[in-house]
Symmetry: C2
């Protein structure tokens, strides 16, 4: 098993970060514009991109603290993996500890997703600090795999 | 053991990417301006940042193909870990497969370094594509840990 880990600090409240992780409007403003579904526990969120997308079942959503999703549809490598966001306050920042865990093998696609998650988390930070993120299809291009 | 993985594609030749990974001038233009030492096999490169730095022993440097360093001085969590860059050509890009491997525990500092490496790899990409990277101390701030 292999995990992708990231840490950012957002100059915003935990409640604002939490809203960006649990509402369709918030998610559409930093990850992909083509987002719908339900971000509450038991709900399913659907994220779509040019080449495909991901369906996430919401396993946990604790306001201001923690969001945890399980991938229920999408690329084979993602199915069954979990994506988690833990929030805490530190030095005026809301710290986001991000984990995309349970990859069966550290395949090249995992390398790509790791870098891509970093750029999307920076998009989340920018959204909350400036009002404008860079969700797909306006996301930062990192390679031939987009 | 835990590893940080990333993948970027650079619109530049493998030789140019290799030069940016093995020369003091190249490294200073995307990672940290305060770089010196020797990027050839057996050499030691010294990278310094505001709060400290890293000394890397060059284990491998195969032109246009692969660079591998071992961390010989720096933060306790880094010592003994290895940082590798594998290069290949694909769709007109030079693909960089990056690994920072051998972390003993997935500590919070590892989460931070994972995201920070992503921003530095984007700096490498920008340097080679536009002529200007964002090395420390002009690097992208991601949190209270810088």
């Amino acid at each position: 098993m292999a995990d992708i880990l990231h840490r950012i600090g957002v100059l915003s409240s935990p409640d604002d970060v939490y809203a960006a992780l649990t509402t369709v409007e918030g998610l559409a403003n930093w990850w992909t514009e083509d987002t719908d579904g339900d971000g509450a526990p038991g709900g399913v969120l659907r994220f779509r991109f040019e080449p495909g997308g991901f369906d996430m079942k919401v396993l946990e959503a604790r306001p201001g603290r923690r969001v945890l999703w399980e991938v229920v549809d999408g690329p084979a490598e993602w199915i069954g993996t979990q994506v988690g966001f833990d929030l805490k306050q530190e030095d005026g920042f809301t710290i986001v500890l991000f984990r995309h865990e349970g990859w069966r093998e550290p395949v090249e696609f995992m390398y790509h997703c790791s870098t891509k998650w970093a750029t999307f988390l920076m998009s989340l930070k920018q959204l909350l600090e400036t009002g404008t993120g860079a969700p797909a299809p306006r996301d930062v291009r990192i390679s031939n795999w987009h």
